[in-house]
Structure formats: C-alpha cells, structure tokens
Amino acid sequence: MSNHYSEHFARMEATCGSLLCELQRLWNEVGETDGQWETTLLEIEQECLKVYMKKIQEAKECRTKLQRDIATAMAELSDIFTSMGESSVQRDLKPGGNLKEELEAIIPLLEDMRRKKVERINQFVGVVEQIQKLSNDILGVKEQNGNKVFVDETNLSLRRLEELHSELHELQHEKINRLNQVQGHLDTINSLCTVLGMNFKQTICRVHPALDDLNGAKDVSNSTIARLAAQIQSLQELKLKRMQKIQDLASALLEFWHLMDTPVEEQQMFLNVTCKITASEPEFTEPDLLSVDSIEKVEDEVSRLKQLKTSRMKEIVLKKKVELEDMCRRTHMVMEALISTDYSIEAMESGAIDPLYLLEQFDLQISKVREEAVSRKEILEKVEKWLAACEVESWLEEYNRDDNRYNAGRGAHLILKRAEKARTVVNKIPALVEALALKTTAWEKERGAEFLYDGGRLLTILEDYSSLRQEKETQRQRQRNQKKLHGQLIAEQEALYGSKPSPTMTAKKASRTPTTAASNRKLSFGGAMLQQVKPEKPTSRFHPNKKADSSNENSFANHHRSSGFTSHSGRRSSEVSGRVVKKQPLSAAKMREMESPAVRKPLSSVSNVVNPIVEQEKVQKGQRLSPGCKTPMAKASKPTVNGEDQNRTPKAMPNPVPTTPSTVSAPMLMAITPATPATLGAYKFEKILEQVQQIEYSFEEVRAGFFMS
C-alpha cells in the first residue's frame, strides 16, 4: 500500500506542481505582484493544509476510535479471562496488522468468551441454587422461590466451580447423613416404642408433625435431630427403668417360685420375663415386653404370691402352735408358763409380729419342750401308775360300800378276784407315792425348777393326796368306833326295852348316809347333819309340829301362801297341808327319804335345820309347780286368814297386793293424785315414756294408784 500510496502521492505532487506552474503562468500573464503571489500561495498552502489537516484529523480520530474499541474489547476479554480463571493470553494481537483487522479478530473472540462466561455463570447459578436449597433444608428454613441466587461474578473460575461443586457434594452428603440420622432415630424410637408398648406415631408427631409422613420431605434441622435424640434418650431411660423394675420383679418371682414350689403351668406365663433377668438393655426387644400393662401383670403376680406366702406362713405357724400345745398336753405341762408373750393368731394377723419370728420362737419352744419331755418321761409314767392305782382305790371303796358284794351271783367270783387284786394295788399306793415324791424331788434338784403337772406342783399334789388319805383313814377309824358305840347303845336299849330295831332299818341307815355324804359334797353340811342327827331324828324333828298342833293346818296353809312362791287356790293348799299333816306318823326312814330328794331339788334352798318352819317350806318347795295362773286378785277367803295371822311370824304374812286394800283402814297417802295415771287407760311402755315429759311415775306408783282408784 505504501507503494500505491507513494505513486498516488507523486501524481498528486505532479498535479499540484503543474497546477502551480499553470497558476504561475496565469499570474504572470495577469501581472500579479510577487507579494500577492506569495499571499495567494500562502493562501493556497494554508487551504491545502487545512484540507490535509482535516483529513488527517479524521484519520486520527478513526484511528483513536479503533484503538479505543480494541482496547475496550481487549479489556473485556482480559476481564473475562481473569474472571474465568484463564490466563489472558493476547495471542490474537498480530504485530504489524492494522487496527481494523485487529478489531475484526478480537470481536468474535470476545463474543465467544462472552458466551462462555454466560455458560459458566449458569453453571454457577445451578450449583449455588442447589447449595442454597440444601442449606435451607439443613437449617430448616422454608424454601422461598424467587430468591435471587447470588453469584460472585468476579470469580467464575473452574476452581471456584470445583469448590462449589465440592461444597454441594458436602451438603448433599450432610443431608443424606442427616436423613440417615433421622431415620436411624426414628427406627430406634420405633423399636423402643414397641418394647415399651407406646404409640410410635404419637411419639414422633410430638417431636415434629412432618416426621410421620413417610413420603414427604423430612425435616432434618438440628433442632429436629436434637429433639429426636432427646426423645430417644428419654425413651431409653424409661426402658432402663422399666427393665430394672421388671428384672427386680422377676427375681422376686423366682424366689417365690422356689420357696413355694409353684407348678410349671403357673410359671409358664411369666417365663418371658424371668428369662430376661440377667439380660442387658439391648436384649429387650420383644414387643410390649416393657409396657405398663406387662409390668402391672408381673407386679400383681408378685403381690399375689407374697400374700400366698404369708398365708402359708400363718398356716405353718398355726401348725407349730398346735404341735406345741399337743406336746405340752401330753407331758402335762402348762403352756402359759413357757410362753410369756402373746403368740396369738390375732397378733400375727394384725402384723404386729413377723410370722418368721414366730416360727423361730415356736421351733425353739418345741425343742425345749421336747427336751424337757424326755426328762419328765419317767416321772410321768410313775404318775400314770399312781393315778391308775387311785382309780382302783375308788372302785374298791365303791365296791366296799355295796352290801350285796358277798351275795353269790353271776360273775361274783370274778369281782371278788378283782377286789383282791385291787386291795393289793391299794396297799402298794403309799410306797408308790413315796417313790414318786423322791424321784420328783431329785428331778427338781437336778433341774433347779419345780416339776409342774398341769399347772400344779406335783409334790404339792402328792402331799395333798397323802394328807387326804390320812384324813380318810382317821374318818374310817372314827366310823368304826362309832359303829362300835352304836352297837353298844343298841345292846343297852335291848337290855332296857327288850327289843331290837330291825336289822334292815339299821342297814339302810348305814347305807343311806354315806351315799348322801359322798354324792352330795356341796350339801355336805346337810348330809353330815343328817348323819349326826340320825339316831334322834324320828323324834326331834316333829316336835315343833306337835307343839303347834292346833293351828297346824292353818299354819301350813299360810306358810304355803306366805312364802309367796305360788298362789295356790284354796283347795290346793288344803290338799297340800293335808299331805303335810299326814306325814307326821311316818317312820323315820321314810321321812329321811322324803327329805333327801327335797334337799337335792335344784331350786330348793339350803336346808336350815335351825328353823323347822323353813324346813317344812323346803318340802313344799319341792312340790312347787306353777298351777293354772290365777291372778292375785282379791280372794274372799283370804282376809279372814290374814286376821288370824296378825301375830304370826313374818312368813305367815300374806301375800299379794290385791287382798290388802279391802282390809286397810287408813287410805294410802299418795303425793300424786292417782286419778291422773288411771285416765291414761292401758299403759303401754311408750305412754309411760311420754309421761316423762309430764309427771313421770314408776310402775309401783302406777300400780299402787291403780288399785287405790
């Protein structure tokens, strides 16, 4: 181009020159002055300069613009390069090339790079968006669509992209981890809930409502995870607690089973619990194994077995008590002496005393008693022998009293033999008692305690028995002496009167009195009296009757009524009195017969021989029965009798109320008018109570007033 340029240039110069030459010529022709020529040349030069200058200016401007454009483009390109992290290699800058060409070259490059940049930006945006979403998820912030994603456009390098990608990966990992964690927690909670028998859905919904949704997005925020962890913690604590409780209960169960030999069927139900007695926490996985119900069931079973044990204990204690009582009875020991505290069933049931303690005590006592029983054995045997001998003795006594014993009859010889044997036994009794006493004293000395037989000191019993025996002996002697005397008396009488009382009578006398004495211990006084009075009885007893001969009938009748036992009709009393009167001539023996039954009548009084009248009453009492009830209303017959008895003994005084008013001369002075109670009619108990509010009356007042009105 420069060549072309230079040609063109030369031509132009030539042209100009020629033109100038022409101009010169013209001017010469015209005759213009040199000065004007100079000025016109200057003008033409200046004008030409201007045009050139303008064109140069334009060209300069163009050149500047181009340069500027290129610079801008280059700047942008380098920008992009830097931002994209590539070295800004200006490889397209061709030295020697013109600017337009340069620009032409740069533009597409720029375009290209711009495109690349946009691409890169998009990539970044994508990653950053994801990152943001994930971090939102992780932080638990709700996603907000339309949030402008911030991308740092200054650093779009691949390295940065790599960084972002790795960040994204991390977050993804994190999210997956957290999801796994949450799932893991949920699984744990699920298993815990199964074991504890709790509702899984309810539990996790309490933590976060969305967790229940299987398909929905799970919240994986820290708080959620923390809450899940806390829930797991609490559930595990609960599980541990229940596990310990159930293990304790299970061990108690095993104890009870062992103690009471529970049958296998009963054990079967709780095997699932007892087999886990040494298990650790993770081994408890069976559903509902640790549920509230399950634990309650085991608790109930334990308490049931406990009660069973206590009742069995009580049974055992009772058995022991019975055994102890039995032993004591057999060895004739008294239990109260052994046991000081109250080992009664009531004390045990009220829980005041532990059955185990009682059991121990009883065992102790039993062994003590056993040991003592062994040492007592010998003496007890001797006591048995002695008691048997006493029985034989009493049989012998009885036999001796039987007067018919020598009469020949069926088996009489056997009885005679028996009596002989009995006599030998009886003779040995003193020696037996002596030996027994010696043995007992020795035993007492050895043991340092008294030998008690059924609560009483054996030695005292033996002493009493010996003294009693001696008394009997002396009594027997006395009897024999008396008999002798009596025999002498009879003999004297015979000598005086020349007759002997019939032997049968005397025999009866002899037989009768001892029986009365023996069988009627309570009334021994009476019996003895009978015995002593025996000889004189027939005569002395009827003396008072004979004395009061004249008024006998009446007095008896009055006694009858006056005793107030029963109110007999007039006829009845005369009957009785008749009987009484007839009694007088009876024989002595018969009289005694009459009296002995009378003495024994249950409701009769003690015989008081001092007052013969009382004795008569006694007889009448024996016949006392309640005849037809006739109310003690006024009887016309009585008042006359009353008049007679004015001066008699108190027993001869009449009787029931109604008779007296008719004879009383002075009216009864009552503090209260009798009329008032009378108007009230039939007195029911309630009415009497009512009267309490008005004026109250006692029954006696009412009755007295009633009869007065």
Binding site: G564, S567, N647, A666, L669, A671, A682, Y683, E696, E700
Partner: protein, 278 residues
C-alpha cells in the same frame, strides 16, 4: 301386819330386819320372835330401805320426796328414833349404800350422793346419765361407784371420783332388749345385785332374764334361762353361792293377766359369776 304393799326390805342381822311399806310406815321385823314394830312414818309410801352398818342407822327413801335416817336402838315411836329428814328433789325410787356413802335415785333422773357422816347436804348432786326413768341404783362392793339402771334397757356404770381420769372410765351399756323385725324392744331393768365376792353383778329385767355382767372387762358372763315373768328383784346370799330371783310381773304394761309370782333361789356356779379377764 303391813297395812299396804311392802315395797322394800333389808336385813339387820340374822335375826331381824326392816321393811318399808306403802302404808307409809317403817317397821323392824324380828324373825325369830315373829314380831314386828313400827320404827317410824313417812308422809307417803316408803319406797326403799337400807341398813347402814357403818352408821348403825336405817335409811329410808319415800315418795314424799324425803330421805329419813332412823336409829333402831331408840325406843319405838317416831320422835325417838328419827335421826334426820333430808329433802330430795323428787320422789325417791331407789337407794344404795356402800361404806359411808349413800346413793339416792329419784324421779326426774336426779341422783344424790351423800356421805353418811355429814347428811346436811349431798356430797354430790348429779343427774342420771341415762335419758329415761331410773329403776334401780346399786353401789359397787368396792365403793368406787354405782350402777344405775333405767326403764329403757340400759345400765350406766358411774364413779364417785369426779376427777377426769375416773370419769373417763364411766360407760353405759344396753341390755335386756330383744331385737324383732329390725327394731329393738326395750325392757326396764328392775334390779341390780352385786356378787359379794367377785364384784360382778346380775341384772334382772322385765324380759324375764337375769344376766350376769363383769363391769371391769365389760363382758356378759352368763344369762340364766328365762323366768316365767318379769324379774322384780335380785339378791345374792352373803357368801355369794346363791341368788334369789323374784319373778313377778311389775305392771310395766298395766293391769293384765300374768304368770303367778314366784321366788327362785338358785345356786350360783363360779363359772357364771367369776370375772374372766381378757
């Protein structure tokens, strides 16, 4: 001869006693001689009579609302024998002696406790703790208190000592009742008698039963079989081996047909009257 019903009597010694009659007179009765003499008079029926060995006096309570003390050693005639007259708030229904103490129960549920050595005024003026009419009052043989029975089948056990400790021991119990168709039929308890040896006591009621009670252990010891009609009076013999039971209709239901009167004397078994501590 008595001019009216004999409402009460008591022993002086083995040969004599005293009687209180509805003819207003107090008599001394000599058993052996078969004689009697009038000791004094009241203005109305003499309801109860006791002889005090400590004071050597006869004490009578009457429906004329007075209590009179008589000296039996004085010659007959009211002026010489009457020792004192003591007004009561109401008609006297029952009285009992132990040692130097006298308990008087009157109508209107009054109870007066006297010291025989100073009769000018009662030692204690009390009211029966039962809500119904008093039937009988008897002192404990040990002299610490008295038993009081009412017409409502109840007996109250009271104590003389007014200290809190003693009053805390007092109680009342229901007795002589019959349960029929869900309701209780109550009978008056007419008589109380203390066993001289054991201190337990028997009560007799209009239901015809005699019950023996242990007041200390609050238990009934025995119940004798039913008597033909109401038990009007009870008395133990001095040695406590016999119990006399008066079976006689006491007119609690007015005038009606009834069993004949009878006195039963029964022997007393130790097991029926001996206290049984728990």
């Amino acid at each position: 001869m008595h001019g009216g019903p004999v409402l009460d009597c008591c022993f002086h010694d083995d040969s004599s006693g005293f009687s209180a009659s509805a003819d207003n007179k107090v008599r001394r009765i000599m058993f052996s001689l078969g004689k009697e003499e009038i000791l004094g008079r009241h203005d109305a029926s003499v309801r109860c009579i006791e002889y005090s060995y400590a004071a050597g006096q006869v004490i009578t309570g009457s429906w004329d609302k007075t209590l009179k003390c008589w000296d039996p050693r004085g010659a007959s005639g009211q002026e010489r024998t009457l020792v004192g007259t003591y007004p009561q708030p109401e008609r006297v229904y029952s009285l009992s002696l132990v040692g130097n103490r006298l308990v008087v129960a009157t109508a209107g549920r009054h109870v007066n406790v006297y010291d025989l050595r100073n009769m000018s005024q009662p030692e204690q003026r009390r009211e029966s703790s039962l809500k119904y009419q008093t039937r009988c009052v008897r002192c404990y043989p040990n002299g610490t208190g008295y038993a009081l029975s009412s017409v409502e089948g109840r007996v109250a056990m009271e104590f003389f000592d007014l200290s809190e400790a003693s009053q805390a021991k007092k109680y009342a119990f229901k007795c002589h009742r019959k349960s029929e168709a869900g309701r209780d039929i109550v009978y008056p308890v007419n008589a109380i008698a203390f066993h001289p040896v054991y201190g337990t006591f028997a009560t007799g009621g209009c239901d015809g039963f005699v019950n023996v009670w242990d007041g200390n252990n609050k238990k009934r010891l025995y119940q004798y079989s039913k008597y033909p009609t109401s038990v009007a009076a009870l008395s133990f013999s001095r040695d406590g081996r016999l119990l006399a039971v008066a079976s006689s209709y006491t007119f609690e239901e007015g005038d009606k047909a009834h069993e004949p009167d009878a006195i039963f004397v029964r022997s007393v078994n130790e097991i029926e009257v001996k206290p049984k501590p728990k």
